[in-house]
Amino acid sequence: MTSKFSPSRRAVLAATAAAVPLVSLPLLKQAKADGLEGIELRHYKPVFFNDAQWLFILAACDRLIPAEGRGPGALETNVPVFIDQQLHAGLGNDIYQQGPHQPDAPATLGFQIPYAPQDVYRIGIALTQQLSQQQHGKPFEQLEAKDKDALLTALQKNGVDFAALGETAMKPSQFFGQLLGDTKNGYLADPMYGGNKDMKAWVAIGFPGARAAYTEWVDQHNVKYPLGPVSLSGKRA
C-alpha cells in the first residue's frame, strides 16, 4: 500500500542501526536556534527508549494517529520524539509516589498505581510485546495494521490481561491511556517540545498557535480566521 508519506515513513519504521547517534544538535548562532524543532525522525536516536522499545513506539504512534486520511500522522509530526524527550526530561516527577499504594482503588479516586510514566511505558511495552508474540508470533511493529489496531483496542478496553502475565498493579487501559494521552499531547503541543513538527497539526485543524493577540477578531463572529500559526520560537506556517 502506498501513501503520500510512505518513503520517509517506511524509512523510519525500518530504521534501526541506521539511526545516527544524536549527541547534540549544532546550535547555530542565529536568531532562532532549532532545538528540538529541526529533528528528522529517521535520524533521531532516542534518549529514553532503547532501540526495541523505540520500534514499538514508532509503530504504535503510527496507528494511534495514522498517516492515512486527511491530515498529518504522528510520525510525520515527530510525535515519538516528543514522547521520548518528555520521559527523559522527568515527565511524572510531580506525582505523589509515597506508599502504600492501592492499585485496585475505584477509578474515580484517580491514579493509584506505584509507577512513574517511565515505568508505565517500560512495563506496558514489554507486556504488549509479549501479548503480540502470544497472539501472532511476531513483535508488535511487524503486525499488519489491522492486527495492531486490534491489539491497541484490546489494551484500551482491557480486553487483554496483564495480570495473567504477572503484572498485578497496572491494567492495560492505564498503559494505553498514558500512551494515547502523550501521543495527542505531542501532536498538538508547541513544536518546541519536539512534536507537531512544522506546526502541521495546527495547520490541519486551523489553530493559530502562539500568536495570542486577537483584539480585532473577537468581534468578528462566524468569520473564518485566515492566518496560519506561529510557534513560540517564531516560526511561521
Binding site: 536568531a31 500568536r211 493577540a213 483584539t215 517564531g234 511561521r236
Partner: protein, 424 residues
C-alpha cells in the same frame, strides 16, 4: 562596564544601601533642611548614576566607565577623610564640581559633566556640599585607579582640552524668560546635565553647545549606538507629557527605554512636580529643528489597521507584526494609554536613525518603578525570535505603517545592531 558616551551608567540592581540614605542624619537640626535640600539636588544631578556602583555602598565610587580609551572608575565622594572627600573645603568641592579639578590639582575627565555643573549656583553648591559632608555615610574604600591609554592617561592634557572645549561659564538667564522657564533652564542646563547625552558631540567628545543661546543645544545625537532625540521644542508632546515621562517613565503614548530608564528611576522621578513643569516649559520654549521633508509616504492609519485586521496577503513585515507586536501594540498601532506605547507617531519609530527602535525590538525595554507609577512593565526582547532579515522587515513596516514616515531598515543595519548587543 559602560562606555564614556554612556554617562548614566547602568546600576544593575537597586542599591540596598540607598534605602539607608534617607534615614542617615548626622546633621544638627539647623542643618537638616540644608541636608535635605542637598539630597534633592544630588538627585537632580544624578550623582549616584556614576558615583554609586551595584553591590557597593552609596557614593563610594568604583563604577567602571568604558571611555573607549580605557576605563575610568568613578571616585569615592563620601565624606571619608582618607578615601573620599572628607577633607575638601567647600571651595575645593565647588572647583571639582564646576571646573573638573580635584583638590590635589588633578584634572577630572569629562565623564564627570563639569561643563554642565559649572552652572550650579553658589547656594546649591553649598547645599550639596553640606549633604555630602553630613548626610552621606563615610565609606572607607578606595576604588580602582582609572587606566586610560596613552595619551589620555596624561591628565595635564585635560587642561588643554578644557581650554578649547570646556565652557565653565555660570548660568545665564535669557531675556524674556518667565520665572518658570528660568528655573527649568537652570535645572536642564546645570544639574540635569541633559546636554551630556542630548547635545551632539565633536571629535574631541566635546558637547557642541552648552546652553540655549546655541541652536545645537539639546538637538539630539547618538549614544552607545542609540539615537538620542532632540529635546528642542518637543512638538509632539505636551508639557504634561514631558512631566509624566520624567516623573514615571511613561506618558499617554510613550514609554522610556535605554539609558533614560535609569535617569527616570534615580533622578527625575524624585523631582517635584513644579521643577518638572519648569523643565518642560523650558524645553517647549526652545526652537525646534525644522521638520524633515518626508520623502516617505505614510500608509495611513486606516489602511494599515484594515490590512492587519483582514490578515490576508500580508507582507513579511505585516505578518511579523501580528506574530510579535500586535499583542500589546494592537493593529491600530496605538497601544494603550500610559501602559503600552503607541507606535503610530512615536518619535523613537520615526527617528532618522533606527538604532533605538532596533534596540527595543531586539532587547526589549522596562519601565522603572516610580513613586507615581509603581508598576514595572516589561517589553520582552525579540532577538531570539527574529533573524536579521526579519528584524529589518518588521522595523521597516513599523516605520512606514499608519502615519509613520521614516525610512526602511536594512538587514545589514539590523545585524550590526544585534552584534553590538551581544557584546554587552
Amino acid at each position: 562596564m559602560k562606555k564614556l558616551t554612556s554617562l548614566f551608567a547602568a546600576l544593575a540592581w537597586s542599591l540596598g544601601a540607598l534605602g539607608a540614605l534617607g534615614t542617615l542624619t548626622m546633621a544638627h537640626a539647623a542643618d537638616q533642611d540644608l541636608v535635605a535640600r542637598g539630597q534633592y539636588l544630588a538627585r537632580a544631578g544624578d550623582c549616584m548614576a556614576c558615583h554609586s556602583a551595584a553591590g557597593k555602598p552609596a557614593y563610594a565610587g568604583g563604577l567602571a566607565i568604558d571611555s573607549g580609551h580605557g576605563i575610568i572608575y568613578s571616585t569615592n565622594i563620601t565624606p571619608d577623610k582618607e578615601h573620599g572627600i572628607g577633607n575638601y573645603s567647600e571651595a575645593q568641592f565647588a572647583t571639582a564640581v564646576r571646573h573638573g579639578v580635584r583638590a590635589d590639582g588633578t584634572q577630572l575627565y569629562p565623564a564627570m559633566p563639569y561643563p554642565s555643573y559649572a552652572k550650579v549656583s553658589d547656594e546649591d553648591i553649598h547645599a550639596l556640599y553640606t549633604y555630602f559632608m553630613q548626610g552621606v555615610a563615610p565609606v572607607a574604600s578606595t576604588p580602582p585607579a582609572s587606566s586610560m591609554s596613552f595619551p589620555f592617561n596624561l591628565r595635564w592634557g585635560m587642561k588643554l582640552w578644557n581650554v578649547f572645549f570646556a565652557n565653565d561659564k555660570p548660568f545665564k538667564e535669557q531675556d524674556g524668560w518667565s520665572a518658570e522657564i528660568k528655573r527649568g533652564a537652570y535645572l536642564v542646563e546645570g544639574l540635569g546635565h541633559c546636554g551630556s547625552c542630548h547635545t551632539p558631540r565633536g571629535v574631541a567628545m566635546n558637547e557642541k553647545a552648552s546652553d540655549s543661546s546655541q541652536a545645537q543645544f539639546l538637538s539630539g545625537g547618538e549614544l552607545n549606538g542609540w539615537a538620542v532625540p532632540s529635546l528642542r521644542g518637543m512638538p509632539h508632546w505636551s508639557a504634561q507629557d514631558i512631566v509624566d515621562y520624567l516623573q514615571t517613565g511613561r506618558n499617554k503614548t510613550a514609554s522610556v527605554a535605554g539609558e533614560m530608564s535609569l535617569v527616570v528611576e534615580h533622578s527625575t522621578s524624585h523631582l517635584t512636580r513644579q521643577d518638572l513643569q519648569a523643565m518642560a516649559a523650558y524645553l517647549k520654549s526652545l526652537s525646534a529643528a525644522p521638520a524633515r521633508s518626508g520623502s516617505v509616504i505614510a500608509q495611513g492609519p486606516e489602511a494599515t489597521t484594515r490590512k492587519l485586521t483582514a490578515a490576508r496577503d500580508l507582507t513579511l513585515g505585516e505578518r511579523l507584526y501580528l506574530d510579535n507586536c500586535a499583542a500589546c501594540h494592537f493593529v491600530n498601532g496605538k497601544g494603550a494609554p500610559g501602559i503600552f506605547p503607541a507606535l503610530d507617531g512615536a518619535s523613537v519609530v520615526n527617528a532618522d536613525n533606527p538604532s533605538a527602535l532596533l534596540h527595543v525590538i531586539l532587547a526589549g525595554a522596562r519601565t522603572p518603578s516610580t513613586e507615581k507609577a509603581p508598576s514595572i512593565l516589561v517589553m520582552p526582547g525579540f532577538a531570539h525570535r527574529l533573524s536579521d532579515q526579519e528584524t529589518a522587515a518588521l522595523a521597516s513596516f513599523v516605520r512606514q505603517g499608519w502615519s509613520n514616515q521614516a525610512g526602511k531598515v536594512s538587514e545589514r543595519e539590523a545585524g550590526k545592531l544585534r552584534a553590538g548587543l551581544d557584546k554587552h
